[in-house]
């Protein structure tokens, strides 16, 4: 099982305008949420706190980087790029569980104190996301080990 680690060299793959696009999208999503909240109220505006605006840009960039890397190696990287973006989407699905925990924790603790609400909700997001990722990872590795075992068993000739 691959351990979680930092790969700072990944930052070199990005172009300056890609970071600018993400900054602009993040800013635009925050402005948009503010506009919806002031026009239609806090409840309707609150839904947009979970808008996947940034995810669109991130997944597209991941696919692009993977395709570029494969092309540099003389390979067609379209399929590989799609798969890399799909892995990111699977991670985002687990992250969404964390975001759900963030929203529940914040709404339950907002009355008690704002610092506690922010800290508690952020901790809930991180804890639930990491636990969900770890459980999925563990389940997948157990399943693949069983599949390999079954394949090996099928290959061994039976003497009786």
């Amino acid at each position: 099982m691959t351990r979680v680690h930092f790969s700072p060299s990944s930052l070199k793959e990005g172009r300056w305008y890609e970071y600018l696009i993400r900054f602009a999208l993040g800013g635009a999503a925050t402005v948009f949420t503010g506009l919806v909240s002031s026009r239609y109220g806090a409840f309707v505006g609150g839904v947009f706190l979970a808008l996947p605006a940034i995810f669109c840009a991130s997944a597209t960039l991941i696919e692009k980087h993977e395709i570029r890397r494969k092309r540099e190696a003389g390979l067609a990287g379209e399929r590989r790029g799609q798969m890399a973006a799909a892995v990111d989407a699977a991670g985002a699905a687990l992250g969404a569980l964390g975001m759900l925990a963030f929203a529940v924790a914040f709404s339950l603790t907002a009355d008690t104190g704002i610092a506690a609400a922010f800290l508690g909700a952020s901790f809930a997001w991180l804890a639930i996301s990491v636990v969900a990722w770890y459980v999925r990872r563990k389940t997948r590795s157990v399943r693949s080990a069983r599949t390999k075992q079954r394949a090996n068993d099928a290959l061994i000739p039976r003497s009786h």
Partner: protein, 115 residues
Amino acid sequence: MTEYVTRFLVGGAVVSAFAMLGDVLRPKSFAGLFGAAPSVALATLGIAVYQHGANYAGVQTQAMIAGAIALAIYSVTVCHLLVRAKWRAVTATLLSLVVWLVVAFGLLIFTRGQT
């Protein structure tokens, strides 16, 4: 006007910070967790608390629950469109926004109907 400039700068900075954290983390499935980080929420809620108080932010996070459930379904949809339908990332992520909108507002209407 100043409020929206502040929103833009704070939102852009928080989102970029989480996105860069996702860029440098490996494996990719773990980095994907940061694609669904509450970056817009942190920026917006911070401003909401400053301007309108804790109750306003509390109401926003109640509705955010529907958005987060929709985000989980959205991400799974994108994943399937990329793997099975072999769509490009830009097409899959943008068209699946319809799924996010339908689920999020469907849940919102349903929960409002219950209360």
